[in-house]
Protein backbone atom coordinates (compact mmCIF):
# COMPACT_ATOMS: atom_id res chain seq x y z
CA UNK A 1 0.00 0.00 0.00
CA UNK A 2 1.47 3.38 -0.92
CA UNK A 3 2.58 5.37 2.11
CA UNK A 4 3.03 8.75 0.51
CA UNK A 5 0.19 11.08 1.55
CA UNK A 6 -0.76 14.69 1.92
CA UNK A 7 -0.30 15.98 5.45
CA UNK A 8 -4.06 16.31 5.83
CA UNK A 9 -4.66 12.69 4.87
CA UNK A 10 -1.79 11.36 6.96
CA UNK A 11 -3.03 13.06 10.13
CA UNK A 12 -6.66 12.15 9.39
CA UNK A 13 -5.77 8.48 8.87
CA UNK A 14 -3.13 7.91 11.51
CA UNK A 15 -4.03 10.16 14.47
CA UNK A 16 -7.30 9.39 16.25
CA UNK A 17 -8.87 11.17 19.20
CA UNK A 18 -7.55 9.83 22.50
CA UNK A 19 -4.28 8.46 21.09
CA UNK A 20 -0.85 8.94 22.65
CA UNK A 21 1.36 10.90 20.25
CA UNK A 22 5.13 11.33 20.61
CA UNK A 23 6.61 14.51 19.06
CA UNK A 24 9.75 16.57 19.52
CA UNK A 25 12.09 13.58 19.62
CA UNK A 26 15.20 15.56 18.65
CA UNK A 27 14.53 18.11 21.44
CA UNK A 28 14.67 21.67 20.03
CA UNK A 29 15.30 20.77 16.40
CA UNK A 30 13.27 18.73 13.86
CA UNK A 31 10.05 19.43 15.77
CA UNK A 32 7.16 18.41 13.49
CA UNK A 33 5.35 21.74 13.83
CA UNK A 34 3.50 21.37 10.51
CA UNK A 35 2.00 18.08 11.69
CA UNK A 36 1.04 19.76 14.98
CA UNK A 37 -0.71 22.56 13.10
CA UNK A 38 -2.66 19.97 11.09
CA UNK A 39 -3.67 18.20 14.32
CA UNK A 40 -5.05 21.55 15.52
CA UNK A 41 -6.85 22.21 12.20
CA UNK A 42 -8.52 18.82 12.40
CA UNK A 43 -9.51 19.54 16.01
CA UNK A 44 -8.30 16.24 17.39
CA UNK A 45 -9.36 15.74 21.01
CA UNK A 46 -8.14 13.99 24.14
CA UNK A 47 -4.60 13.30 22.92
CA UNK A 48 -1.83 12.28 25.30
CA UNK A 49 1.18 14.29 24.16
CA UNK A 50 4.51 12.62 24.84
CA UNK A 51 8.01 14.07 24.62
CA UNK A 52 11.32 14.68 26.35
CA UNK A 53 11.26 18.47 26.16
CA UNK A 54 8.65 20.28 24.14
CA UNK A 55 9.76 23.65 22.84
CA UNK A 56 6.53 25.63 22.25
CA UNK A 57 4.71 22.95 20.21
CA UNK A 58 2.81 21.31 23.07
CA UNK A 59 1.89 24.73 24.42
CA UNK A 60 0.14 25.43 21.10
CA UNK A 61 -1.64 22.09 20.92
CA UNK A 62 -2.76 22.36 24.56
CA UNK A 63 -4.06 25.88 23.88
CA UNK A 64 -6.00 24.60 20.86
CA UNK A 65 -7.81 22.14 23.15
CA UNK A 66 -6.51 18.94 21.56
CA UNK A 67 -4.75 17.42 24.59
CA UNK A 68 -6.00 15.74 27.77
CA UNK A 69 -2.63 14.73 29.13
CA UNK A 70 1.08 15.42 28.81
CA UNK A 71 3.73 12.83 29.52
CA UNK A 72 7.19 14.36 29.37
CA UNK A 73 10.16 16.06 31.00
CA UNK A 74 9.70 19.73 30.10
CA UNK A 75 7.00 21.89 28.50
CA UNK A 76 7.58 25.56 27.75
CA UNK A 77 9.37 27.89 25.36
CA UNK A 78 13.11 27.23 25.58
CA UNK A 79 14.42 30.65 24.55
CA UNK A 80 11.53 32.74 25.88
CA UNK A 81 10.37 31.10 29.12
CA UNK A 82 7.23 29.50 30.54
CA UNK A 83 4.44 28.07 28.40
CA UNK A 84 1.40 30.23 29.01
CA UNK A 85 -1.17 27.73 27.68
CA UNK A 86 0.44 24.90 29.62
CA UNK A 87 0.13 26.98 32.78
CA UNK A 88 -3.49 27.96 32.09
CA UNK A 89 -4.43 24.33 31.46
CA UNK A 90 -2.70 22.88 34.54
CA UNK A 91 -3.55 25.74 36.92
CA UNK A 92 -7.06 26.68 35.78
CA UNK A 93 -8.26 23.94 33.45
CA UNK A 94 -8.35 26.35 30.51
CA UNK A 95 -9.32 25.52 27.77
CA UNK A 96 -9.68 22.08 29.40
CA UNK A 97 -8.14 20.09 32.26
CA UNK A 98 -4.70 18.64 31.61
CA UNK A 99 -3.15 15.71 33.45
CA UNK A 100 0.65 15.55 33.70
CA UNK A 101 2.90 12.53 34.02
CA UNK A 102 6.41 13.77 34.86
CA UNK A 103 9.61 12.38 33.46
CA UNK A 104 13.20 13.53 33.13
CA UNK A 105 14.90 13.46 29.75
CA UNK A 106 16.80 10.31 30.69
CA UNK A 107 13.82 8.49 32.20
CA UNK A 108 11.72 9.19 29.09
CA UNK A 109 14.55 7.90 26.88
CA UNK A 110 14.75 4.76 29.04
CA UNK A 111 10.98 4.26 28.93
CA UNK A 112 11.06 4.44 25.14
CA UNK A 113 14.12 2.18 24.98
CA UNK A 114 12.32 -0.42 27.12
CA UNK A 115 9.35 -0.40 24.75
CA UNK A 116 11.71 -0.46 21.76
CA UNK A 117 13.45 -3.51 23.26
CA UNK A 118 10.19 -5.25 24.13
CA UNK A 119 10.79 -5.33 27.89
CA UNK A 120 8.43 -3.90 30.56
CA UNK A 121 11.00 -1.65 32.25
CA UNK A 122 14.66 -0.67 32.42
CA UNK A 123 16.67 -0.01 35.59
CA UNK A 124 18.50 3.24 36.22
CA UNK A 125 20.34 5.25 38.87
CA UNK A 126 18.63 8.51 38.02
CA UNK A 127 15.72 10.20 39.88
CA UNK A 128 16.39 8.36 43.14
CA UNK A 129 16.26 11.65 45.03
CA UNK A 130 13.66 13.50 42.94
CA UNK A 131 10.07 13.86 44.16
CA UNK A 132 8.62 12.85 40.81
CA UNK A 133 10.61 9.59 41.04
CA UNK A 134 7.72 8.54 43.35
CA UNK A 135 5.15 8.74 40.51
CA UNK A 136 3.60 5.53 39.13
CA UNK A 137 5.93 5.45 36.09
CA UNK A 138 8.72 4.49 38.49
CA UNK A 139 9.32 1.83 41.14
CA UNK A 140 12.24 0.84 43.33
CA UNK A 141 13.93 -2.44 42.37
CA UNK A 142 16.82 -4.46 43.73
CA UNK A 143 19.48 -5.78 41.39
CA UNK A 144 19.35 -9.61 41.47
CA UNK A 145 23.14 -9.79 40.96
CA UNK A 146 24.59 -7.10 43.21
CA UNK A 147 21.70 -6.33 45.58
CA UNK A 148 21.92 -2.61 44.72
CA UNK A 149 18.83 -0.41 44.93
CA UNK A 150 17.84 1.01 41.55
CA UNK A 151 14.86 2.69 39.96
CA UNK A 152 12.74 0.89 37.37
CA UNK A 153 11.32 3.03 34.56
CA UNK A 154 8.12 1.63 33.07
CA UNK A 155 8.13 1.16 29.29
CA UNK A 156 6.64 4.06 27.32
CA UNK A 157 4.81 2.96 24.19
CA UNK A 158 3.22 5.79 22.21
CA UNK A 159 0.44 4.86 19.79
CA UNK A 160 2.14 6.98 17.15
CA UNK A 161 5.44 8.86 16.85
CA UNK A 162 5.44 11.84 14.49
CA UNK A 163 8.97 12.66 13.37
CA UNK A 164 10.37 15.30 11.04
CA UNK A 165 13.47 14.15 9.13
CA UNK A 166 15.74 15.47 6.42
CA UNK A 167 14.96 12.90 3.75
CA UNK A 168 13.13 9.65 3.19
CA UNK A 169 12.13 7.44 0.31
CA UNK A 170 8.53 6.64 -0.53
CA UNK A 171 8.63 3.59 1.74
CA UNK A 172 9.60 5.70 4.76
CA UNK A 173 13.23 4.62 5.02
CA UNK A 174 14.63 7.76 6.59
CA UNK A 175 17.98 9.49 6.75
CA UNK A 176 18.42 11.74 9.77
CA UNK A 177 21.52 13.63 10.92
CA UNK A 178 22.52 16.11 13.59
CA UNK A 179 21.54 15.82 17.25
CA UNK A 180 19.26 12.80 17.40
CA UNK A 181 17.69 13.04 20.86
CA UNK A 182 15.35 10.06 21.19
CA UNK A 183 14.41 9.91 17.51
CA UNK A 184 15.32 6.29 16.95
CA UNK A 185 14.02 5.09 20.32
CA UNK A 186 10.68 6.84 19.72
CA UNK A 187 10.38 5.29 16.25
CA UNK A 188 11.11 1.82 17.59
CA UNK A 189 8.88 2.19 20.67
CA UNK A 190 5.79 3.54 18.92
CA UNK A 191 2.95 1.48 17.49
CA UNK A 192 3.57 3.29 14.19
CA UNK A 193 5.51 6.23 12.78
CA UNK A 194 4.31 9.18 10.72
CA UNK A 195 7.21 10.88 8.92
CA UNK A 196 7.29 14.39 7.60
CA UNK A 197 10.40 15.13 5.57
CA UNK A 198 12.11 17.93 3.71
CA UNK A 199 12.70 15.77 0.64
CA UNK A 200 11.53 12.52 -0.86
CA UNK A 201 14.56 10.83 -2.40
CA UNK A 202 15.00 7.68 -4.50
CA UNK A 203 15.54 4.41 -2.65
CA UNK A 204 19.13 4.31 -4.01
CA UNK A 205 20.00 7.48 -2.08
CA UNK A 206 18.98 5.73 1.15
CA UNK A 207 21.01 2.63 0.28
CA UNK A 208 24.06 4.77 -0.52
CA UNK A 209 24.56 5.60 3.16
CA UNK A 210 22.97 2.96 5.42
CA UNK A 211 24.60 4.32 8.62
CA UNK A 212 22.47 7.41 8.16
CA UNK A 213 19.23 5.39 7.99
CA UNK A 214 17.78 5.82 11.45
CA UNK A 215 14.31 4.55 10.72
CA UNK A 216 13.62 1.53 8.53
CA UNK A 217 10.49 2.00 6.42
CA UNK A 218 8.64 -1.02 7.80
CA UNK A 219 8.05 0.95 11.03
CA UNK A 220 6.46 3.80 9.09
CA UNK A 221 2.74 4.09 8.34
CA UNK A 222 2.75 7.35 6.39
CA UNK A 223 5.31 9.59 4.67
CA UNK A 224 4.64 13.23 3.86
CA UNK A 225 6.87 15.63 1.98
CA UNK A 226 6.69 18.88 3.96
CA UNK A 227 9.48 21.37 3.20
CA UNK A 228 9.90 23.69 6.21
CA UNK A 229 7.82 21.17 8.17
CA UNK A 230 9.84 21.87 11.31
CA UNK A 231 9.46 25.67 11.13
CA UNK A 232 10.13 27.54 13.40
CA UNK A 233 12.49 24.84 14.72
CA UNK A 234 15.60 24.12 12.65
CA UNK A 235 16.37 21.24 10.34
CA UNK A 236 20.12 20.79 10.04
CA UNK A 237 21.26 21.53 6.51
CA UNK A 238 17.82 22.81 5.40
CA UNK A 239 16.57 25.61 7.63
CA UNK A 240 17.68 27.71 10.56
CA UNK A 241 15.81 28.36 13.78
CA UNK A 242 13.34 31.25 13.44
CA UNK A 243 14.01 32.75 16.89
CA UNK A 244 11.64 35.71 16.42
CA UNK A 245 8.71 33.36 15.87
CA UNK A 246 9.22 31.92 19.38
CA UNK A 247 9.48 35.34 21.05
CA UNK A 248 6.42 36.61 19.15
CA UNK A 249 4.36 33.56 20.17
CA UNK A 250 5.46 33.95 23.78
CA UNK A 251 4.34 37.58 23.87
CA UNK A 252 1.05 36.99 22.04
CA UNK A 253 0.03 33.87 23.98
CA UNK A 254 0.40 35.65 27.33
CA UNK A 255 -3.40 35.89 27.55
CA UNK A 256 -6.03 33.61 26.09
CA UNK A 257 -7.40 36.16 23.62
CA UNK A 258 -3.91 36.84 22.26
CA UNK A 259 -3.33 33.15 21.79
CA UNK A 260 -6.62 32.72 19.93
CA UNK A 261 -5.60 35.52 17.60
CA UNK A 262 -2.26 33.82 17.04
CA UNK A 263 -3.98 30.48 16.40
CA UNK A 264 -6.39 31.98 13.89
CA UNK A 265 -3.65 33.83 12.08
CA UNK A 266 -1.07 31.06 11.77
CA UNK A 267 -3.05 27.81 11.94
CA UNK A 268 -6.84 27.88 11.59
CA UNK A 269 -6.81 30.80 9.16
CA UNK A 270 -4.68 29.00 6.58
CA UNK A 271 -5.72 26.00 4.53
CA UNK A 272 -2.55 23.96 4.89
CA UNK A 273 1.24 24.13 5.14
CA UNK A 274 1.48 25.91 1.77
CA UNK A 275 -0.77 28.65 3.11
CA UNK A 276 1.38 28.86 6.25
CA UNK A 277 4.61 29.20 4.25
CA UNK A 278 2.95 31.82 2.07
CA UNK A 279 1.99 33.74 5.20
CA UNK A 280 5.62 33.62 6.36
CA UNK A 281 6.54 35.47 3.17
CA UNK A 282 9.32 34.83 0.71
CA UNK A 283 11.71 37.22 2.41
CA UNK A 284 11.45 35.46 5.76
CA UNK A 285 11.71 32.05 4.15
CA UNK A 286 14.86 33.16 2.30
CA UNK A 287 16.42 34.24 5.61
CA UNK A 288 15.92 30.73 7.02
CA UNK A 289 18.26 29.13 4.48
CA UNK A 290 21.61 28.03 5.98
CA UNK A 291 24.57 30.34 5.28
CA UNK A 292 26.79 27.55 4.09
CA UNK A 293 26.62 23.88 3.12
CA UNK A 294 29.22 22.64 5.62
CA UNK A 295 29.46 19.37 3.68
CA UNK A 296 30.66 16.14 5.31
CA UNK A 297 33.56 14.31 3.74
CA UNK A 298 32.21 11.47 1.58
CA UNK A 299 32.67 7.92 2.88
CA UNK A 300 33.32 4.78 0.87
CA UNK A 301 31.27 1.64 1.38
CA UNK A 302 33.59 -0.06 -1.11
CA UNK A 303 33.78 -3.86 -1.02
Amino acid sequence: MPKLHSLRDAIAREVEDGMSVFMGAALESLIPFAAGYEIMRQRKRGLTLMTTISDMQFDQIIGAGCAGKVCGAWVGNVAAGLGHNYRRAVERGEPGPLAVENHSNFSMALGLKAAAMGVPYLPTRTLMGSDFGEEPSFAGVRCPFTGESLLAVRAVQPDVAILHVQRADEEGNAHVWGNLGVTQDAAMAAGKVVLTCEEIVPHEVILSDPNRTLIPGFLVAAVVCVPLGSHPSPTQGYSRRDDDFYFDYHARSRDRAGFEEWLNHWVLGVEDQDGYVERLGSERVACLKPDSDYMAAPVSYGY
Partner: protein, 243 residues
Protein backbone atom coordinates in the same frame (compact mmCIF):
# COMPACT_ATOMS: atom_id res chain seq x y z
CA UNK B 1 28.18 35.05 36.20
CA UNK B 2 29.51 33.89 32.85
CA UNK B 3 33.10 34.34 33.98
CA UNK B 4 32.39 32.63 37.30
CA UNK B 5 30.88 29.72 35.35
CA UNK B 6 33.93 29.56 33.08
CA UNK B 7 36.22 29.36 36.13
CA UNK B 8 34.37 26.24 37.35
CA UNK B 9 35.36 24.29 34.23
CA UNK B 10 38.73 22.54 34.60
CA UNK B 11 40.93 21.51 31.72
CA UNK B 12 40.20 18.03 30.40
CA UNK B 13 36.77 17.78 31.97
CA UNK B 14 33.58 16.62 30.28
CA UNK B 15 30.89 19.08 31.21
CA UNK B 16 27.13 19.36 30.66
CA UNK B 17 26.71 22.95 29.43
CA UNK B 18 23.33 22.80 27.75
CA UNK B 19 21.89 26.07 29.01
CA UNK B 20 22.27 29.76 28.38
CA UNK B 21 25.05 31.30 30.50
CA UNK B 22 27.12 28.12 30.94
CA UNK B 23 27.18 27.77 27.16
CA UNK B 24 29.08 31.02 26.98
CA UNK B 25 31.10 30.08 30.06
CA UNK B 26 32.25 26.96 28.20
CA UNK B 27 33.46 29.06 25.24
CA UNK B 28 35.37 31.36 27.60
CA UNK B 29 36.93 28.44 29.51
CA UNK B 30 38.02 26.78 26.25
CA UNK B 31 39.62 30.02 25.11
CA UNK B 32 41.53 30.59 28.36
CA UNK B 33 42.27 27.83 30.85
CA UNK B 34 40.47 24.64 29.72
CA UNK B 35 41.47 24.06 26.07
CA UNK B 36 40.80 20.31 26.21
CA UNK B 37 37.43 20.44 28.01
CA UNK B 38 34.52 18.83 26.19
CA UNK B 39 31.03 20.31 26.22
CA UNK B 40 28.13 17.85 26.38
CA UNK B 41 24.54 18.55 25.32
CA UNK B 42 21.65 16.22 26.14
CA UNK B 43 20.20 16.63 22.67
CA UNK B 44 23.06 14.31 21.69
CA UNK B 45 26.06 16.51 20.92
CA UNK B 46 29.64 16.57 22.19
CA UNK B 47 31.84 19.51 21.19
CA UNK B 48 35.55 20.12 21.62
CA UNK B 49 35.24 23.71 20.39
CA UNK B 50 32.49 26.27 20.91
CA UNK B 51 29.45 26.63 18.65
CA UNK B 52 30.12 28.39 15.37
CA UNK B 53 27.64 31.22 16.07
CA UNK B 54 25.65 32.48 19.08
CA UNK B 55 22.74 30.10 19.77
CA UNK B 56 19.51 30.09 21.74
CA UNK B 57 19.19 26.32 22.21
CA UNK B 58 21.58 23.39 22.28
CA UNK B 59 19.92 21.93 19.15
CA UNK B 60 20.59 25.01 16.99
CA UNK B 61 22.48 24.09 13.80
CA UNK B 62 25.67 26.08 14.65
CA UNK B 63 26.03 23.84 17.72
CA UNK B 64 25.84 20.69 15.59
CA UNK B 65 28.05 21.66 12.64
CA UNK B 66 31.65 20.85 13.48
CA UNK B 67 30.70 18.85 16.59
CA UNK B 68 32.95 16.04 17.79
CA UNK B 69 30.17 13.49 18.23
CA UNK B 70 26.47 13.48 17.41
CA UNK B 71 24.36 10.76 18.93
CA UNK B 72 21.16 10.15 20.84
CA UNK B 73 20.12 11.38 24.25
CA UNK B 74 20.49 7.92 25.78
CA UNK B 75 24.18 7.80 24.78
CA UNK B 76 25.07 11.08 26.49
CA UNK B 77 23.01 10.14 29.54
CA UNK B 78 24.77 6.77 29.59
CA UNK B 79 28.12 8.59 29.76
CA UNK B 80 26.68 10.52 32.70
CA UNK B 81 25.25 7.51 34.52
CA UNK B 82 28.46 5.51 34.14
CA UNK B 83 30.47 8.24 35.85
CA UNK B 84 32.25 9.73 32.86
CA UNK B 85 30.95 13.28 33.15
CA UNK B 86 32.80 15.34 35.74
CA UNK B 87 30.49 18.32 35.97
CA UNK B 88 27.15 19.76 34.97
CA UNK B 89 25.48 23.15 35.25
CA UNK B 90 21.88 23.30 36.44
CA UNK B 91 19.39 26.00 37.37
CA UNK B 92 15.93 26.29 38.82
CA UNK B 93 13.10 28.53 39.95
CA UNK B 94 13.83 27.82 43.62
CA UNK B 95 16.89 26.62 45.50
CA UNK B 96 17.15 25.83 49.20
CA UNK B 97 19.87 25.81 51.87
CA UNK B 98 20.97 22.30 50.89
CA UNK B 99 21.11 22.99 47.16
CA UNK B 100 17.89 21.21 46.21
CA UNK B 101 16.23 22.72 43.14
CA UNK B 102 12.58 22.99 42.16
CA UNK B 103 11.41 23.49 38.58
CA UNK B 104 7.98 21.78 38.84
CA UNK B 105 5.63 24.11 40.71
CA UNK B 106 5.54 26.86 43.33
CA UNK B 107 2.71 28.33 45.38
CA UNK B 108 0.17 26.60 47.60
CA UNK B 109 -2.89 24.43 47.00
CA UNK B 110 -5.03 27.48 46.29
CA UNK B 111 -2.72 29.01 43.68
CA UNK B 112 -0.10 26.81 42.13
CA UNK B 113 2.20 28.09 39.43
CA UNK B 114 3.22 25.31 37.07
CA UNK B 115 6.82 25.44 35.88
CA UNK B 116 8.28 23.60 32.89
CA UNK B 117 9.67 20.52 34.72
CA UNK B 118 13.00 18.75 34.89
CA UNK B 119 14.27 18.42 31.35
CA UNK B 120 17.62 16.76 32.00
CA UNK B 121 18.40 18.73 35.16
CA UNK B 122 17.31 15.99 37.60
CA UNK B 123 19.53 13.50 35.77
CA UNK B 124 22.55 15.80 35.92
CA UNK B 125 21.91 16.66 39.59
CA UNK B 126 21.69 12.98 40.46
CA UNK B 127 24.51 11.57 38.36
CA UNK B 128 27.22 14.15 37.53
CA UNK B 129 30.54 14.05 39.39
CA UNK B 130 29.66 17.50 40.71
CA UNK B 131 27.10 20.16 39.86
CA UNK B 132 27.27 23.91 39.70
CA UNK B 133 23.97 25.72 40.30
CA UNK B 134 23.56 28.98 38.43
CA UNK B 135 20.64 31.37 38.93
CA UNK B 136 19.53 34.92 39.70
CA UNK B 137 19.62 35.76 43.38
CA UNK B 138 16.19 36.79 44.66
CA UNK B 139 14.63 36.21 48.06
CA UNK B 140 11.61 34.40 46.62
CA UNK B 141 13.98 31.99 44.85
CA UNK B 142 16.33 31.34 47.81
CA UNK B 143 14.02 29.51 50.22
CA UNK B 144 14.74 27.48 53.38
CA UNK B 145 13.25 24.33 51.88
CA UNK B 146 11.97 23.83 48.32
CA UNK B 147 8.33 22.75 48.06
CA UNK B 148 9.21 20.04 45.58
CA UNK B 149 12.55 18.45 44.76
CA UNK B 150 13.07 18.30 41.01
CA UNK B 151 16.87 18.15 41.05
CA UNK B 152 18.35 16.88 44.30
CA UNK B 153 21.15 18.67 46.10
CA UNK B 154 22.01 17.38 49.57
CA UNK B 155 18.38 16.66 50.58
CA UNK B 156 18.06 17.45 54.29
CA UNK B 157 21.81 17.61 54.87
CA UNK B 158 24.93 15.47 55.30
CA UNK B 159 24.49 11.77 54.51
CA UNK B 160 21.19 12.14 52.60
CA UNK B 161 22.62 11.48 49.13
CA UNK B 162 24.48 8.42 50.42
CA UNK B 163 21.32 7.04 52.09
CA UNK B 164 19.33 7.54 48.89
CA UNK B 165 22.05 5.89 46.81
CA UNK B 166 22.69 8.87 44.51
CA UNK B 167 25.85 8.17 42.54
CA UNK B 168 26.83 11.75 41.66
CA UNK B 169 28.69 14.04 44.03
CA UNK B 170 26.07 16.80 44.40
CA UNK B 171 26.41 20.56 44.10
CA UNK B 172 29.90 21.96 44.61
CA UNK B 173 29.05 25.62 44.14
CA UNK B 174 26.20 28.02 43.47
CA UNK B 175 26.83 31.04 41.24
CA UNK B 176 24.33 33.88 41.48
CA UNK B 177 23.97 37.48 40.42
CA UNK B 178 25.25 38.50 43.90
CA UNK B 179 27.98 36.04 44.81
CA UNK B 180 29.49 32.57 44.83
CA UNK B 181 28.51 29.95 47.38
CA UNK B 182 30.01 26.68 48.54
CA UNK B 183 28.57 23.88 50.70
CA UNK B 184 29.93 23.30 54.22
CA UNK B 185 31.44 19.78 54.06
CA UNK B 186 30.17 18.92 57.57
CA UNK B 187 26.55 20.07 57.23
CA UNK B 188 26.16 20.33 53.44
CA UNK B 189 24.62 23.73 53.98
CA UNK B 190 25.13 26.54 51.47
CA UNK B 191 27.50 29.30 52.66
CA UNK B 192 28.79 32.53 51.15
CA UNK B 193 32.22 32.00 49.66
CA UNK B 194 32.52 35.38 47.95
CA UNK B 195 30.43 38.44 47.18
CA UNK B 196 30.67 40.11 43.79
CA UNK B 197 32.33 43.55 43.57
CA UNK B 198 29.85 46.20 44.75
CA UNK B 199 27.78 43.67 46.76
CA UNK B 200 27.95 43.16 50.56
CA UNK B 201 27.34 40.08 52.69
CA UNK B 202 24.31 41.90 54.08
CA UNK B 203 22.93 42.49 50.56
CA UNK B 204 23.12 38.75 49.96
CA UNK B 205 21.43 37.94 53.29
CA UNK B 206 18.65 40.39 52.46
CA UNK B 207 17.93 38.42 49.29
CA UNK B 208 18.03 35.00 51.00
CA UNK B 209 15.08 33.60 52.95
CA UNK B 210 17.11 31.74 55.59
CA UNK B 211 19.95 32.76 57.92
CA UNK B 212 22.74 32.22 55.42
CA UNK B 213 26.18 31.57 56.91
CA UNK B 214 29.42 32.94 55.53
CA UNK B 215 32.51 30.78 55.01
CA UNK B 216 35.31 31.57 57.50
CA UNK B 217 37.43 33.07 54.71
CA UNK B 218 34.62 34.93 52.88
CA UNK B 219 36.01 37.51 50.47
CA UNK B 220 35.25 39.54 47.38
CA UNK B 221 34.85 37.63 44.09
CA UNK B 222 37.99 37.95 41.97
CA UNK B 223 37.48 40.75 39.43
CA UNK B 224 37.24 39.61 35.80
CA UNK B 225 40.59 39.79 34.08
CA UNK B 226 41.12 41.62 30.80
CA UNK B 227 41.51 38.26 29.04
CA UNK B 228 38.23 37.00 30.49
CA UNK B 229 36.34 40.12 29.40
CA UNK B 230 37.81 39.92 25.91
CA UNK B 231 36.82 36.25 25.63
CA UNK B 232 33.23 37.01 26.68
CA UNK B 233 33.04 39.79 24.08
CA UNK B 234 34.40 37.48 21.42
CA UNK B 235 31.66 34.90 21.95
CA UNK B 236 28.83 37.31 22.83
CA UNK B 237 29.66 40.29 20.59
CA UNK B 238 26.11 41.66 20.66
CA UNK B 239 25.76 41.30 24.43
CA UNK B 240 22.78 38.93 24.12
CA UNK B 241 23.68 37.10 27.34
CA UNK B 242 25.92 39.59 29.08
CA UNK B 243 24.43 43.02 28.48
Amino acid sequence: MVIAAAREIRDGERVFVGMRLPLLGFAVAKELHAPTAIGIFESGVLRDWPALKPIFTMSDPPNVAGALFCCGLIEVMSLLQSGRVEMGFIGGAEVDRHGNLNTHWVGDDRRRLRLPGSGGAADIATLAGRCVIIMNHERRRFVPRVQYITSPGYGDGAGWRERRGLSGGGPSRTITSLGIFSFDPATREMQIESYHPGVTVQDIRDETDWPLKAAPDVRETLEPSREEILAVRKYDPDGVWTS
